[in-house]
């Protein structure tokens, strides 16, 4: 399906990542937004507040992030595409109901424009330290999808992908921006509506009495949904449940339910995962990065190549699910992975796990507040080949 032209502000703009993200969401068909202001994500909410009344969207500023997250799940069950945005402390508050969205298999998009933490940390300065929280932040076992854009243009393009993935896999999709990406102003081209592909909600069309909100018997088929108010009289719960959505509180039901939640993502990593590779084939060292760090790393990579070092780059566009297979493959052919990230070591742990001792992983940490000095990354590359 193609995008609704009403929501597509075609043209070339000089725009920051936050605004591009808002425009992308509107182009993707998002028409329900609930949020609570927090730096550095507020501009997204502000843009949506301004734009929604003119595109038939429903904006509500909730009393907190707990409420924002709960509201977008409720709204998703009316058939609409929904989003909330936040940063740091607000992301922590959303964790509770991100788990609910996972359990209820509700498509929705959560944007986290990362800033320095912990706690109130660095409200106005960048960080990438919520990456593990994105994966593990809500209690219990589950899988979800997290994307990480690195430019204003990608904030626009990739948020559309985020909405599409959410619908395809009936899962909350986390959009992990960082303050730099959110506040960096660059050229953004918004194409014609017919150039934008949208995954519509898959609605159930069978007999009403046969409807079940879930399908656990295979990871390839995701059950179609219905909307509240259409006479299906369905029930859904955050409790462990069966395919009818009825609570079932025992170990067997838990096994079936959780296995399904995990399988539907884990067994489809190849279909979901997006990575951007460059100069990989003959690389001795691969710099793995995401978000703003991937752009800072480029400077170091360029410099290293000028110095005759064979450096490849791998950018995680989807961070979760993790491209485990690909990293394993590469681990057998390279001397080292270099991982610059604006945290004290998060994704590097995941690379280390996948490399499983086949190649050393070298973390270039940064506590946040600013991006790496490319020199530090270059130094790590140099040391790796020395």
């Amino acid at each position: 399906m193609k995008a609704d032209p009403v929501g597509v502000a075609k043209g070339s703009y000089f725009m920051d990542g936050d605004h591009a993200c808002a425009e992308g969401a509107i182009a993707a068909g998002c028409r329900f937004f609930a949020g609570y202001p927090i730096t550095p994500s507020t501009e997204i909410a502000e843009r949506i507040a301004e734009r929604f009344p003119k595109v038939g969207g429903m904006f509500i500023q909730m009393e907190d992030e707990l409420a924002s997250m709960a509201a977008i799940i409720g709204a998703a069950w009316t058939g609409t595409k929904t989003m909330t945005v936040t940063s740091g402390p607000g992301f922590s508050l959303m964790m509770e109901n991100i788990g609910l969205a996972v359990m209820m298999e509700t498509p929705c998009v959560v944007v986290d424009v990362q800033r320095g933490g912990p706690s109130t940390g660095l409200p106005t300065l960048t960080g990438q330290a919520d990456m593990m929280q994105a994966r593990w932040g809500s209690h219990g076992d589950y899988e979800l999808i997290a994307l990480s854009p690195n430019s204003s243009q990608e904030c626009f393009d990739l948020i559309i992908t985020a909405f599409n993935l959410a619908e395809q896999w009936r899962v909350p999709v986390l959009f992990m921006m960082d303050e730099c990406v959110g506040h960096m102003t660059e050229k953004v081209v918004i194409p014609d509506a017919y150039e934008i592909t949208i995954t519509p909600r898959k609605f159930y069309r069978g007999k009403k009495k046969d409807f079940k909100p879930y399908k656990f018997n295979g990871h390839t088929k995701i059950a179609p949904m219905v909307k509240a108010g259409d006479g299906y009289f369905f029930h859904i719960t955050g409790l462990t449940h069966d395919e009818r959505g009825y609570p079932l509180i025992n170990a067997e039901a838990q096994q079936t339910n959780v296995q399904h939640l995990v399988d539907k993502i884990n067994k489809n990593v190849d279909k979901i995962s997006i990575v951007e590779e460059d100069n990989i084939t003959d690389a001795d060292v691969i710099v793995v990065s995401y978000g703003i760090s991937s752009r800072v790393a480029l400077k170091a990579v360029e410099f290293a190549r000028k110095n005759g070092i064979k450096v490849g780059t791998l950018r995680l566009v989807t961070v979760w699910p993790f491209p485990e297979k690909r990293i394993k493959q590469l681990a057998s052919q390279v001397k080292a992975f270099i991982i610059p990230e604006i945290n004290m070591g998060q994704i590097s742990l995941e690379i280390e796990r996948c490399a499983a001792g086949q190649a050393p992983t070298i973390l270039v940490p940064h506590a946040g507040g600013w991006v790496h000095d490319p020199k530090d990354i270059f130094q790590a590359i140099e040391e790796a080949v020395a």
């Binding site: 007999k207 009403k208 009495k209 006479g231 009289f233």
Partner: protein, 103 residues
């Protein structure tokens, strides 16, 4: 205090009568129905149901005025009343009819 008064024109007005239906095994023996039936139609049995609760007996069937208070107050959906004179099907649903209602 009871909610019921005998009206002066009792002989002239048509007092409804009810048939009481009790799903004995659904009852949890709270006695709400017995306590609040305005005509003392119900009395807790000395027998036990499958779950081990006493359930209500109808001790004065003819006295039931189909006020449905028992039906309303029962937390277990174990008791309901249908007006005797009318076709019972009107109110009590035939088993299986809700299947149609949802399709």
């Amino acid at each position: 205090m009871k909610y019921w008064r005998v009206p002066f024109d009792r002989d002239k007005i048509d007092i409804p009568h009810g048939d009481i239906h009790i799903n004995i095994d659904r009852c949890k023996g709270c006695s709400f129905c017995e306590e609040y039936c305005p005509r003392d139609v119900l009395k807790m049995s000395t027998n036990y149901n499958k779950k081990g609760y006493h359930y209500p007996d109808v001790i004065k069937q003819g006295e039931c005025v189909n006020c449905c208070l028992c039906e309303m107050i029962c937390p277990e959906f174990a008791i309901f009343c249908i007006e005797s004179s009318k076709d019972t099907i009107q109110k009590g649903m035939k088993k299986g009819s809700n299947q149609e209602a949802t399709s």
